[in-house]
Subunit: 702 residues, 2 copies
């Protein structure tokens, strides 16, 4: 890993000196409110800038940036949009490090605002000033003492800080998240809102935050992702540093994707591609806002586990059953305690005891506090479990204090179910949830992250000779964009994609001779740029053997095509080996607007295709990554059992996947590849068809 | 619908007079606590019973039930288990209406407790006294003034009452649910915990509650269901009365099912059967505890909608996108407002306005309260939307008060997203959620319930003649439990299940003659009680045509079977029409431990079976219900498109499903039926195989 260069983000996000344009004595204005926030948190030099007032909130005010007595790291701006350009010019001139631009009225406000935003972006870039915003609510960095935001108001308590970093494009939702996160006990050390992202975007912020030593978990709410390469770099670095990155993506539905595009004025890629990229690079996708905050809470103490065994401790059988239920449904184990450990628990419990110490442990509501504490201690030190969960009531303050002690005296992750938040648990940072499912999902996420297998890194250098050789197959007549199958197969061969044995012939005699060389049953197919979908017009004959049969089929096929596609220009016939298939798969290439090339692999066959999910990988990826993706398809059923893919078959399919990925990386002008089917049997996998579409093709060609 | 007879539950659950055995002056004991709860809520005659004290909590105490000055409706018991039997005897003698038995130490405490519970159950039943418990925490009925429970303590405020009824077997979890429900603004009018269910169980309570006029929605947490018929009756009645019934089922995972069985000492059926029965009878299955409470909240005001159009109103684009996202993902529509309605909104908004009035409406954070209220009013009266959602912050008390007014001045359902609960919203019963997904899921459930199509009722009277006729096919030699295919097909024919044309023959000559009569290609199969799985031993030959081919196949098949299954006693050969199949389905019968016979239908074929879900129906059901179930399989794809099932094919498959259901209802001794495949093509569907297993078969026969 090369050393991280913050590109000036450190002056922007961890400044030693701050000036604020728009700082105000009116605490009901944004300028007054944000300045008060900065003032109450910041220990460095702070300069209010005001056109008339000589003092703002007790500090000496300056009339403009040019009038400041020193250079500053950060300038916060909260003035009307039309005044911003001139301020940026001064900031550049004064060699300011960064700007937080709170003002709205830019790209979100129509063409004029968009032009203004572009001018400012260019001036800041040229001048080396990093900018957050516009149309954002600023950021907070508790360890650095910077409350340059209006997510929280000055009358709310200053957050205690901590290991959780939160990033959101949306200011309003970011404020919601910050407020709710702090209410629910999240130890928020950072919050950054990026707004219109004229310069600094979510990806860049994550890349910066992952390097900060106090950050143990990162949460991001993303509407659009402007910088996929930096996002992936941040994700990779988070894996290296053992810091979970959790992301909540807006625009999962078509309707919302449209709304996000209009509201952020940027491109939104396909959501299944986004999910696939996250999976590939170890980013955790949250499926709801509360899930994101829940995961922040379970990860904030940095505890890890080696195994998935949970102890469920309750004073009620029903709650225990539900917690055990949710644990099992989320892939955790609720093992029965061994007899000796059960006996130790029974020894400290009252008699008669109508509960259970097996697991779930049901101490019954009749238990005395001391006995409960003793049982909890036994469980906390048990070698038979890795994680703990229990239930409490928000009113039971003493019980909560005991749970805090339990938490502090064990290394095991603890997740508490409570009717509501309890102050002692919140203060101590004990992960607390109001629903059994959220308890289990959080512990399960912790287990999965703790025991993840990192994706092997894969670098890629284009092979110049291969590029040159394969380019000839992509030279089509003017107006053609879809390769004929025979051309596609030749291209595939350059990329190590196993194709069926085949010959391109131009007469029945040649076909017979080719079939004899190939051996066994053959397929014949008409080659024509006009007939990419051969079976629609009878341009294919299957399972032929013997000279007579091949001659007859050749003849009848050409007659049928002449009748059904009279205008097609034919360019010979492909004679192809008919390989056996126990199973058919498909592998393809699509290009996402955000993440670029993506290789898809899935089951073939009409009905099965409808039912089964496709797995997507972003090239470059290793053979190992391709094998892992295959192994996860259909919850692993594809590689299991008597009829599942053998080791050799998996190797060959993985090679096809890598080949398609390399093809995509070396030829930008290929917009789509579809290999359907890949025929698999007896340790072999062959591309039995090939659809390759070049960029610029009209929609109908796909 | 026949008039509901409460069977004495009214005296138990809505008493005019109450006595309590175990009432105590010690407010830290269960007896003291529950008595204080009753005393603070109850307006009827109340009698503490105490062996020594002459006064309990200020009321004259009596030494025993026999000493009471009048008969009472309800006796609450909170004494040690060993003393309970004598008290029940007195209650019977005094013609008490019902007993709430809070004590534990019964079935949950081992063999002795189980015997004691059985004796008490018998005495109460014989004496006509209805019993809730034991091992429960009692119930609350706010409208009736009965707080006979320790779910809440006397120092907590008396719940304000309302339209939500909650039922839970588990006392501990019931207390958790009650506490959390009240905290989150649920208008709880009833809570009943049923504990060990020695008499009154969840189903009976639901059947009672659904008839109570103040109840608008019922929530149930169930570990085991003891009375499926009553549960179904309650569900049907809830549909009739337009009262949603929401159920959260514990024991969904195998591990938890085991825990529930040991903890409640009763049978737990299969969870997919439970879900199917709920779907069939319109019961909403909640997937988490919070989801159940969330649905209680959206249904508590009884509002309904005709359509699925949601208005999303926010002061932040990001929040709007997320709310729109979740709405769309949950099947709701977020329509763009027509131009004239947008213009009306723009007229009341400030300029310049950088937000959107399309929907999601983004008023931006700069909006003034009056303008916001005006926009809200316009949306509330818009003919373009059916439901409303918006976002607020828990600190914004004035905004919450405005939302209460909005809620009270519209018939449209309103769901509010808030960082936390807000007192004004809670007091007014405005559904409030802390997560956008929960907002959308709740509104979507309201829409689905409002627009549900009720399952057509289906009654069933056994056909005595058919029973007699079909019984002969079930008479097997001693020790045999699996019908031969030919026998199964004859049984099927009695139930209107279309079977392939076929003849049962005993020589190659007969086979040839039979094939000629049947026509076309045939299949031949060896019949033997020892060979239910014919293809494993080569006892089947497919696609035969012509005398020669049939003779050869007949011979080779018998030779192969003689070699591979030398001990099988053969009973002739089935010659069967080979019908075409564009698609293969399966239909089967299984018996659930709780719900009895269930008919399953799904796709056939090895891989597809693994991928696709099966739909289950509980007989009796109508052809219409069967068709609906088919229509929902694979999200409707089975009946769509060019290759989907045609109308005639659907009719025939539905007839097979109904036939299997009737078969199950008329023959208790059939434990399993499997028709695999049903071959479907050209408007026809035929049972092409038949596996019928009788009760008592060893496991291996299935």
């Amino acid at each position: 890993m090369t050393t991280y260069n913050s590109n000036g983000l450190d002056r922007l996000l961890a400044p030693q000196s701050i000036a604020m344009v728009g700082a105000s004595n009116n605490l009901y204005s944004i300028g007054g409110l944000v300045f008060a926030n900065i003032k109450r948190s910041f220990n460095g030099s702070l300069f209010p800038i005001h056109p008339k007032d000589t003092e703002v909130q007790g500090l000496t005010a300056y009339s403009e940036i040019n009038a400041l007595p020193q250079n500053v790291d950060l300038v916060v701006i909260a003035v009307a949009s039309h005044a911003v350009e001139a301020i940026i010019e001064q900031a550049v001139a004064k060699r300011v490090g960064g700007v937080v631009l709170l003002s709205s009225g830019f790209a979100e406000a129509g063409a004029e605002g968009m032009a203004l935003q572009a001018r400012i972006a260019e001036k800041a870039r040229a001048g080396g000033v990093r900018v957050i915003g516009p149309n954002c609510i600023g950021y907070l960095n508790i360890a650095g003492g910077v409350m340059a935001n209006f997510a929280l108001t000055p009358d709310e308590p200053l957050p205690p800080g901590g290991s959780v970093a939160l990033v959101s494009q949306s200011g309003g939702f970011g404020s919601y998240l910050t407020t709710k996160g702090l209410l629910t006990g999240l130890r928020l050390g950072w919050f950054v809102s990026t707004g219109n992202e004229l310069d600094v975007n979510i990806a860049a912020v994550l890349r910066y935050l992952v390097e900060q030593p106090e950050v143990k978990v990162m949460l991001a709410f993303s509407e659009t992702l402007r910088d996929p390469e930096v996002f992936i770099a941040a994700a990779r670095r988070a894996q290296e540093l053992d810091k979970p990155l959790v992301i909540l993506k807006a625009g999962r539905s078509e309707a919302a994707a449209k709304a996000a595009m209009s509201h952020t004025a940027s491109v939104v890629g396909a959501v299944n591609v986004f999910d696939a990229v996250c999976r590939q690079y170890g980013v955790i996708v949250a499926h709801s806002m509360e899930e994101m905050l829940d995961l922040g809470m379970i990860f904030q103490d940095g505890r890890r586990v080696k195994n998935n065994r949970v102890a469920v401790m309750t004073t009620s059988g029903g709650t225990g059953v539900l917690l055990a239920d949710e644990s099992a449904l989320n892939g955790l184990d609720v093992p029965t305690f061994p007899a000796d450990e059960q006996q130790k628990m029974l020894d400290v419990l009252h008699t008669p005891f109508f509960g259970s110490v097996a697991n779930p442990i049901d101490t019954t509501a009749a238990i005395q506090p001391d006995a409960l504490k003793a049982v909890q201690q036994l469980v906390a030190h048990s070698p038979s479990v890795d994680m703990l969960t229990t239930v409490t009531w928000a009113r039971a303050i003493e019980a909560a204090k005991d749970l805090v002690k339990l938490y502090q005296n064990t290394d095991k992750p603890l997740a508490v179910l409570s009717t509501d938040l309890v102050e002692p648990l919140k203060e101590a940072g004990v992960p607390t949830y109001t629903d059994p499912q959220r308890v289990a999902k959080s512990l399960a996420a912790l287990y999965r992250f703790s025991t993840r297998t990192a994706t092997s890194a894969s670098t890629f250098t284009p092979n110049a000779q291969r590029v040159a050789r394969s380019r000839q197959h992509l030279e089509l007549p003017a107006g053609e964009f879809v390769l004929m199958e025979a051309q596609g197969k030749r291209l595939f061969a350059e990329y190590g994609i196993a194709v069926t044995a085949e010959e391109w012939v131009h007469s029945a005699d040649q076909a017979v001779a080719a079939a004899a060389r190939i051996g066994g049953k053959v397929v014949i197919k008409v080659m024509s740029y006009q007939l990419p979908h051969k079976s629609d017009v009878g341009a294919i004959r299957l399972g032929l053997q013997g000279d007579q049969a091949i001659r007859e089929a050749y003849q009848s096929m050409l007659e049928e095509v002449a009748q059904r596609a009279p205008h097609a220009v034919l360019d010979g016939v492909l004679v192809q080996q008919m390989v056996p298939a126990r199973m058919e798969l498909t592998c393809g290439l699509q290009r996402d607007e955000v993440f670029g090339p993506m290789v898809a692999v899935g089951l073939g066959g009409v009905l099965v295709e409808q039912l089964a999910e496709t797995t997507l990988l972003r090239p470059p990826f290793s053979l190992e990554t391709a094998r892992q993706a295959l192994g996860q398809l259909l919850q692993g059923r594809l590689v299991q059992g008597r009829r599942g893919l053998s080791h050799d078959e998996q190797e060959q399919i993985a090679a096809i996947m890598v080949g398609v990925g390399n093809l995509a990386l070396e030829h930008d002008n290929i917009s789509e590849v579809d290999i359907n089917p890949i025929r698999v049997d007896a340790g072999k996998a062959y591309a039995a068809d090939a659809l390759v579409v070049l960029a610029g093709a009209p929609e109908a060609a796909h």
